[in-house]
């Protein structure tokens, strides 16, 4: 038996291991230091009350013969949830039909599994800096990957280069790690480029609920022409705090590859996936109810308040940064190598963040702060930040 040799080409990321090691070493030497973590890449606020209520009800239904549910009738999701997601899109004027929505246990699964749809001889275009899953999941299939520079010159929301030919394009907006978001015009340029090249855009919309600027599309399907060239991955993780609960969805428009893409994805999922738990589907439905959206929004606003605080301090200090406005991430220019900045922030302010160089070569000299700590801790961290820079 021959193992998949492509796995030998995946690079190990030691970013978070190295952060943990440096923090551990510092804490050992400075046991009384009050360390504040602004490197958290995960939600911290509990699920909304109506989501919990729906979850309890669904679990209890599973315990009674008359309401018990076995395999879901369709591995793509129950109608009640696909309808709720379709209405959610409609609320920001994007038309997505329920049958175009494929429910899953999370966007990371969909992001990893969607590569099954493509031949191995396609060329993949990935921005740098980047969320590493896009790269690793294609290296595992042996695909050629090329990078698109994302830099200060374009405020970390790059435009396509018409001289570059590629087949599969990954875009994430609002972006992880930079927090930058595409304007309608910039995203339209990508859609036009993809259509002109017969390429497909895999659009990661996981952070859409953080968008505040009216010119920033919350879905690629807000952009004219996207229905012939894009799939969208989205999730309840950041919108409703489902990182440990697990539920996401992928939107495949009817027009993509003349309907063939949707059929292939449905076939992949019905063969290699047995549907998302009824319990999570009921919880997700509650999150996208009117009450659920209101309750989840309170959590997002709390994170946004932190993001605004961080941005405001950087603004007042004249430090170049992206994100914060439409994202829980703030990406700032260090004025020194990323790891030097990490050490200085840790040693002088006892604040932990994430070196940008860990996300790709264009991340060198940048640093990521996140809005997922409490307001009090975030305020205290930024007070200390002001004092040392």
């Amino acid at each position: 038996m021959k193992l998949n040799a492509n796995y030998d080409n995946i690079q190990n990321s030691y970013l978070f291991v190295e952060i943990a090691n440096r923090v551990k070493k510092f804490t050992a030497q400075n046991p009384s230091a009050d360390i504040i973590k602004l490197g958290i890449g995960d939600v911290t606020r509990p699920l909304a009350p109506c989501v919990v209520e729906a979850g309890v009800k669904a679990v209890e239904e599973m315990g009674r013969a008359e309401t018990f549910r076995g395999y879901s009738p369709d591995s793509q999701g129950y109608d009640f949830l696909r309808d709720a997601i379709s209405r959610y899109y409609a609320a920001f004027n994007v038309k997505v039909a329920p049958h175009e929505i494929h429910v899953s246990d999370g966007a990371k699964s969909d992001c990893g599994n969607i590569v099954d749809m493509f031949g191995d001889d396609n060329v993949v275009l990935i921005p740098d800096p980047v969320y590493p899953v896009y790269l690793d999941s294609n290296v595992m299939s042996g695909r050629k990957v090329i990078f698109c520079d994302s830099t200060e010159g374009d405020d970390f929301a790059p435009l396509p280069d018409k001289n570059v030919k590629c087949d599969i394009i990954y875009l994430c907006s609002p972006n992880n790690p930079t927090g930058a978001a595409f304007s309608y015009e910039k995203l339209k340029a990508w859609v036009d480029y993809a259509n002109a090249n017969g390429a497909v855009i895999i659009f990661d919309a996981a952070y859409e609920a953080f968008v505040t600027e009216p010119d920033v599309p919350r879905s690629i399907f807000a952009v004219e022409g996207a229905r012939t060239c894009a799939v969208e991955l989205c999730s309840f993780s950041k919108t409703a705090g489902f990182t440990g609960t697990r539920c996401g969805y992928t939107v495949v428009p009817d027009e993509l590859c003349g309907g063939k893409f949707a059929k292939m994805w449905a076939r992949r999922q019905s063969t290699k996936y047995n549907g998302t738990s009824y319990i999570q589907q009921r919880m997700a439905e509650a999150a996208y109810s009117e009450e659920g959206i209101r309750q989840c929004r309170e959590n997002i606003q709390a994170y946004q308040k932190n993001a605004n605080l961080i941005s405001g301090v950087l603004e007042s200090m004249g430090i170049y940064h992206t994100g914060g406005k439409n994202s829980p991430y703030i990406w700032l220019k260090c004025g020194m190598p990323s790891w030097d900045f990490f050490d200085r922030l840790l040693e002088k302010a006892n604040v932990v963040g994430t070196p940008g160089s860990g996300f790709g070569k264009n991340g060198e000299g940048y640093f990521r702060l996140t809005a997922f700590n409490t307001y009090e801790k975030t305020a205290e961290a930024m007070e200390r930040f002001k004092k040392i820079f």
Copy 2:
């Protein structure tokens, strides 16, 4: 962009569509017929009380700041569940360490995703008749698939043919659809064959909780030599009624490919999967607690009572069959083509089952009945059965 051309080679299965169509047509012509379904391939009894209790508690924990859980610390599962699964194996004298257990949302996902571990130039050996996922998930990757005949001659538990060379072997015991199970000796023959050929066995143990005969291994790791040649897929679906709740696990022994297989699987899962919901992991832990095992066993015994009833009737009528003893499936010899038998059973007895020919060429002339209906309906169906054959 080039789509994955291998998808054009997947055959569509119309088995369950055709069954539904024939039942629909019959019901339209005979609206008063009292149809009994012995074709159900899904559990029907509710979750055990202690599993429901654990689920409610976990959902409520997610709703409080102090007990909320985000991303799981390890995408392979929480220690509390991996420990519980390890103890579950120990109870039937199989030693599997917690770190060798990789928790997932279900065995179907693992079965579909495990093919990522292998190069596309391996030869896959699949018994016929067979659960179609083994075949389809390999056709999607363009692998060569050869079949191993499973027939009455070996009581549908075939032995390996030493003249056949292959790299990846799928075995399911107790089997879907035949209900047949491998004795220790037969499974040992497969393990020896795999080790001699440098092949890997993917062992589907989804029905292990139905095993009653002491000579039938509940895990391939009960067999000497399996740790160097096998991975095992298992699930809470049939054991604890989780088909709509979703939780499963894969066991990868340290010895497989000198530890490389386990590392690759962990890497695949941490890249393309973000861990199983905390809620399901707590529910699964409860199912494998002492009380949970006792409560789940009551459900399994109810299905086994139905299986024994069906087997007993066939026995008394002198009809050749496999399964029932260690499985909720009973596979009987029709004495006519499978679809003719289907029509006769539907028309004369108003009982629905599954034609064996839908599971492969060696299924022709056979028929599957299942134990997932109520005892009363099963008894009534078998009374009718006796009258017409």
